[in-house]
């Protein structure tokens, strides 16, 4: 990630596709692991861990959407609804059957994948804006169903309380312990996606994205791969929903409304379509930026004004700056933060001997 070669020396496809392009990459991963598993949880205040926790959950959701939108070129406005499918599946299993998280979590993902395949069916006939509207319908139908069917929603208030996840009698009930819980699944999602996109399936997704007719001609079953993309993407969304459920201790469909689907689209567009690192960048950026902006504004504003005066302008100003920054970054690099990062890296690849 941070290391670089001084040129392009790869001579085989295998070398180009390797997870560790250089021997030193293993060290980078080891250092990152040390940082996230040991140093950060030991040194950082719980508050910052709570922010990281939100980022971890967002990464899982963003990776899922990026597989569908970035890698396969299909669009979905139903990501939030798939999260709610996962959330309610897990909550119902956990409360009614008393199942532990390591069963409810994959179950939530699988249920979301099944629903995702159904919602993704129109993708076989339509593309682009039309597909966006078809998946939007999926979002609204799922919301309506959960709201109206007490067997799913658990009653009029449509929220089901779940206990904290526990493993061998250890309960993940603080931000510190939830940090490890969520970190594990975030890392799992990252590694799984990295491997998925360099496998046969991943290459098929990219072929479908780039030109689906050409992909069909070279022997890719687009029927199968489009639906597979929806299934995998929805699986991630379902898992993301389950993680939200355990993190908040409640499944509530109002957490997963249309605005959430749009937020996740924004995450992957800002981060970079069709890249794993981009999904991570996007999740970090979108979660962190409002918080950083607010803290900066509070500290600056409170030097001159009273708290209430600052509060009056901060919300609007924060939103305006947030929007402006997104526009700024997308103008600087339309392919997202990931491309920006790659540009920086390739600049340094030959530095200081450019040309």
């Amino acid at each position: 990630m941070f290391h670089r070669e001084s040129g392009v020396f790869k001579t085989s496809y295998a070398a180009d596709m390797a997870l560790y392009p250089l021997p030193i990459a293993k060290w980078t991963v080891a250092v990152l692991a040390l940082l996230f598993v040991v140093i950060i949880p030991l040194t950082v205040h719980e508050y910052y861990l709570s922010i990281l926790n939100l980022i971890f959950i967002a990464i899982v959701g963003a990776l899922g959407l990026n597989i569908l939108v970035g890698y396969t070129g299909q669009i979905s406005l139903g990501h939030g609804a798939f999260m709610s499918v996962g959330a309610y599946t897990a909550a119902n299993l956990a409360v009614k059957l008393g199942l532990p998280f390591w069963l409810t979590l994959p179950a939530g993902g699988l249920m979301a994948a099944a629903i995702g395949v159904v919602v993704g069916m129109p993708s076989l006939r339509i593309k682009g804006l039309y597909l966006a509207i078809a998946t939007l319908a999926g979002q609204l139908i799922i919301e309506w169903t959960i709201n109206r069917v007490p067997a799913i929603s658990g009653g009029a208030s449509a929220s089901i309380q779940v206990d904290r996840p526990s493993l061998f009698g250890f309960s993940f009930n603080t931000q510190g312990s939830l940090y490890f819980f969520l970190l594990f699944f975030a890392v799992l999602a990252i590694v799984a996606t990295l491997n998925l996109v360099r496998s046969r399936i991943g290459r098929a997704f990219i072929a479908v994205r780039d030109q689906d007719i050409a992909a069909e001609i070279i022997g890719i079953d687009i029927y199968r791969y489009k639906l597979l993309a929806f299934a995998i993407s929805s699986f991630y969304a379902g898992v993301c929903g389950v993680l939200y459920t355990y993190y908040f201790g409640i499944a509530n469909y109002e957490q997963f409304q249309l605005i959430v689907s749009i937020d996740y689209l924004a995450i992957i567009i800002i981060g970079g379509l069709g890249s794993v690192l981009g999904s991570i960048f996007g999740a970090v950026f979108v979660t962190l930026l409002p918080i950083v902006l607010r803290i900066v504004m509070e500290n600056v504003g409170s030097l001159f004004f009273t708290t209430s005066e600052v509060a009056n302008v901060i919300s609007g100003l924060k939103l305006a700056v947030f929007g402006a920054l997104i526009i700024f970054f997308l103008i600087v690099e339309p392919e997202g933060l990931n491309r920006l990062w790659r540009n920086i890296r390739s600049y340094f690849r030959v530095w200081p001997f450019s040309y």
Partner: protein, 416 residues
């Protein structure tokens, strides 16, 4: 120069100061931290922009009078944009800064924080938000609705209808509601009371965002022809309902709205006070400017050489902000007194909150009594009616069908 302009100028100046490395070390003083979540930019911004300044103004007023029992209050406000993840972040921030209590904002946000509040032993208040069963202090020890829940509002609406018509027996009552969990919540109460009182209830759901309800209103006025209409809508939907009902010729004096359809802004957006003559609203805090505390806030602004903020004119929401802050301050006051003047912990503030009784703030706060069991304080409401271009009190603080509400709370508790 406007306050907004000044702030902008200040921001620019402050950036310059920060650039040369001013950290801003503040002198340590006797201080308590309140966390306050708000929504000034999300889907319920119409509420937040007027409610949240009320909260700050009451705290400033308390501070200007020397604080609460000698403690100054510092408020940390976080705009959660009516989204759930930022609400969690806000809670952790409050906790880090050592907040003794926090104000929640939004029903899904309250639901998502219930468990965390209990784990961290920091109380959160959610007046007008959250689920009705949160009134039960034994099940949700750190969640305090402190205002009439939707169940209590439902009971109150029927009580009011009964008094207006003399009896509910054989009457037809229409319930026009926003099709979300909050909208459906009072249905259980209505159905229960419909059986005992013997009236016919029919429900009319309005899908989100509730800007189109011509069909439902036509169904109500043209087919069902009810004797009374109860509305429970959010956002822009209440003003649409007023306009539609008025447009179809239904007398607004036979309509009563729940607390989020009852502000001046809703009525004005429907075409002004003049067209809404007779419209009835349920309120959990006093309405209008005729309260000593509001006069004091105005005086505070004048003493500082400023004009009182225009948000004060939106009295329904602004007063709810004042109400929320006043309860917070009172809880802390109780806790400090119980501890003989020392800074209370968040658990002691919870006990202070549960000791609130007979605190009415000149009529702005209902005569509620909180306890370890009842975090709703009795579910008191007032009815205010549009009369002659303004909201006029039509019915003083009352509890509607309290036994029914308590029965449902008990039933709900035994289910879980």
């Amino acid at each position: 120069m406007t306050r907004f302009g000044k702030t902008w100028l200040g921001m620019a100046g402050a950036t310059a100061v920060l650039a040369i490395g001013s950290g801003g070390a503040f002198a340590q003083q006797k201080e308590l931290v309140f966390g306050f979540q708000c929504d000034r930019t999300g889907p319920t911004a119409n509420v937040g922009v007027n409610l949240c300044p009320g909260y700050h103004d009451y705290v400033n007023l308390t501070n200007s009078k020397g604080g609460v029992e000698g403690f100054k209050i510092r408020v940390i406000e976080v705009d959660n944009e009516y989204k759930v993840p930022p609400a969690m972040e806000a809670h952790e921030r409050f906790k880090k800064e050592g907040a003794v209590l926090e104000g929640l904002y939004g029903t899904p946000q309250t639901a998502a924080l219930n468990k965390k509040l209990e784990e961290d032993k920091i109380l959160g208040t959610s007046p007008g938000f959250g689920t009705s069963n949160a009134s039960d202090g034994k099940r949700f020890p750190y969640t305090f609705p402190i205002a009439a829940s939707y169940w209590s509002q439902g009971g109150a609406a029927l009580q009011f209808a009964k008094e207006k018509m003399g009896t509910l027996k054989g009457k037809k009552i229409a319930y026009l509601f926003y099709d979300n969990p909050a909208g459906k919540e009072p249905l259980a109460i209505f159905e229960d009371i419909a059986k005992t009182e013997g009236f016919e209830l029919r429900t009319f759901a309005v899908p989100a965002p509730g800007l189109e309800m011509g069909a439902q209103v036509l169904d109500i006025t043209g087919r069902f022809k009810p004797d009374f209409v109860i509305t429970h809508l959010f956002g822009r939907a209440p003003s649409v309902s007023i306009k539609e009902l008025k447009g179809k010729g239904f007398p607004l004096s036979k309509v009563v709205a729940f607390v989020w359809g009852s502000s001046e802004a809703d009525i004005i957006a429907a075409g002004g006070m003049a067209i809404a003559e007779g419209y009835n609203t349920i309120q959990f805090a006093g309405v209008g400017k005729d309260f000593p505390v509001l006069k004091e806030i105005e005086a505070m602004y004048k003493a500082q050489g400023k004009t009182p903020p225009k948000e004060m004119d939106s009295t329904v929401f602004y007063n709810r902000g004042v109400f929320n802050a006043a309860i917070h301050v009172e809880a802390v006051r109780n806790a400090i007194r119980a501890k003989g003047g020392a800074a209370p912990t968040s658990e002691e503030v919870k006990k202070g909150m549960e000791a609130i009784k007979g605190f009415t703030l000149g009529g702005l706060v209902p005569p509620m009594q909180l306890s370890a069991e009842d975090h709703e304080g009795g579910g008191w409401v007032q009815i205010w009616t549009v009369k002659g271009g303004k909201l006029v009190k039509a019915k003083d603080w009352f509890q509607g069908y309290r036994p029914v509400i308590l029965k449902h709370l008990a039933a709900d508790a035994s289910k879980s």
